[in-house]
């Protein structure tokens, strides 16, 4: 091996082992102190972070479904058991950690393989989580669903909720976490962009695309009016224009086609997946005994 030379061609000075050791110790010390500080902050904040995230999800589910009194929500966790080619569903009353967990196991082809109405509080280890869904009932009748989904965005994953009404048409989309660029990709979380999904049927979602064409002015105005309306009744201009636009592609954010495609692809995937699985799961999730 040839002798190491400096970048300008001069022979490299012999490094003093003591100096090297000193530098290594110095860096190690700084890293150790940093690790302790960061660990301390993490331990101190992790519990509050989780609580804040759960609280945010609860608010999002409530706002998306606009449930009245007398409604109940069931949280269903989905896991993939890749070794056995099985999917595990765990259902319990949303927000009640003490409620019993109903577990169902299906094969990938949709055959029921196991059933347990009093499964443990923790899911078995080693399974891959596939996101959750929330099933809402009002006075015993199905009132709507919220699906949790994830998609790979421009920088990191985009985590979102899609709300469906009882006919499986999209009722709303909410972006929960993302790291897209502020001012560009981050615009996918704005009410106007998200409102483009609202009102589309599962068949329309299955065929959805993204276009870089500019959004028509009247549709933008109608979406803005829809996004800022608070009552149960949607604005009239939105109700007319949604008939024209519901079969058309999503209009991408200018300069952020990748982020726009990512959210659209995620919503499409979540709805398609749910459609295939819901027919299997629905009979299993009927309220046990008489409806409350």
């Amino acid at each position: 091996m040839s002798e190491l030379v400096h970048i300008d061609g001069a022979p490299r000075p012999k490094a003093d082992p003591k100096v090297i050791a000193g530098i290594a110790m110095n860096l190690a010390l700084v890293c150790a102190v940093s690790a302790i500080v960061l660990g301390g902050v993490y331990v101190g904040t992790e519990r509050y972070q989780r609580m804040a995230r759960l609280e945010g999800e609860r608010t999002a589910v409530g706002a998306l479904l606009q449930l009245g009194p007398g409604s109940e929500v069931t949280e269903v966790e989905q896991y993939l058991d890749a070794a056995k080619n099985e999917v595990l569903y765990r259902a319990r009353e949303y927000g009640n950690e003490a409620a019993p967990v109903r577990a169902r196991v299906f094969s990938l082809s949709g055959e029921l393989r196991g059933s347990n109405d009093d499964a443990g509080a923790e899911p078995p280890a080693g399974l891959e989580p596939l996101g959750r869904m929330f099933v809402a009932r009002e006075n015993g009748a199905l009132a709507g669903f919220v699906l949790e989904g994830e998609s790979r965005g421009y920088k990191n994953r985009i985590r979102f909720f899609v709300a469906l009404d009882s006919s499986l048409a999209v009722q709303g989309v909410r972006v929960l976490e993302h790291e897209e660029d502020p001012g560009l990709g981050a615009e996918i979380a704005t009410p106007v962009f998200r409102a483009q999904f609202t009102g589309r049927t599962p068949d329309e979602i299955a065929a959805i695309g993204v276009t870089r064409d500019p959004m028509p002015e009247d549709w933008h105005a109608a979406l803005a009016a829809y996004a800022s309306s608070t009552g149960a009744e949607a604005p009239a201009e939105w109700r007319t224009l949604v008939q024209r636009e519901r079969g058309k592609p999503i209009y991408a954010i200018t300069g952020a086609t990748i982020s726009s495609r990512a959210l659209t692809r995620g919503v499409k995937g979540a709805v398609d997946h749910f459609r295939r699985r819901w027919s299997l799961l629905a009979p299993q999730l009927e309220p046990a005994g008489a409806a409350k």
Partner: protein, 216 residues
């Protein structure tokens, strides 16, 4: 290198220095990339400015305290670690205790690790000066950065989106070009030229024009 022997200037001098004569964006031309990326609105500029101010002050204080311990040959990696620790700590704390605010600023916080202005102040100032002047230098630089971002944001929001602080001013968007990244560079160039002319007028033409990178 002369800073080590000079007596450090007073607090007010240091503050004004960061805001005007050595403004990070308009005079030192540092951290232009984030200055372009996030300044589409005044509010964005303000939020990022506050976060940078906090990280700059905390990092400068840490370096001013620990400067005797840091080995000079690895000072740059050590500065980077110090900045990253403060950015991560602020990130986790905001996410835990003010989730509503974090939902708006979380995206910006993580970007700050790579800001040239912060590490440059650690190298040029905090590593050579005692605690108190380092604090005022960090305050001045942080405020200067924040004000610069807000001025750029104001220009771009008014011209690009026809609004100010989110309040619509006109029915239309006058020049959408200014909201896009290329428009950001033009905004900074126009403002930099404006501040150069202003400074020339005020000081009678004795000051040097803005030149990026002369602080390393």
């Amino acid at each position: 290198m002369s800073e080590t022997t000079e007596k450090p200037p007073g607090a007010l001098q240091l503050l004004l220095n960061g805001i005007f004569s050595e403004n990070p964006v308009f005079r030192l031309a540092l951290s232009l990339c984030p200055a372009v990326a996030v300044t589409t609105t005044v509010a964005n500029g303000f939020i990022l400015g506050v976060a940078v101010l906090a990280v700059q002050v905390l990092s400068s204080l840490t370096v001013a305290i620990a400067r005797g311990v840091i080995h000079p040959r690895v000072r740059i990696p050590v500065y980077t670690i110090i900045i990253a620790v403060w950015v991560s700590a602020i990130d986790m704390t905001l996410a835990a205790f003010v989730p509503a605010l974090y939902a708006q600023v979380g995206l910006y916080i993580k970007l700050i690790v790579a800001f040239a202005i912060i590490i440059s102040r650690l190298e040029v100032f905090a590593s050579r000066q005692p605690l108190v002047p380092s604090f005022w230098d960090a305050m001045g630089m942080g405020l200067g950065f924040m004000l610069a971002l807000m001025v750029i944001g104001a220009l771009r929001e008014v011209l690009g989106a026809g609004a100010f602080f989110g309040i619509p001013l006109f029915k239309t968007k006058p020049l959408l070009f200014f909201a896009l990244p290329a428009g950001g560079f033009f905004s900074i160039a126009l403002l930099m030229a404006f501040f150069n002319v202003l400074e020339r007028k005020l000081t009678g033409g004795t000051s040097k024009p803005a030149a990026g990178g002369h602080h390393g």
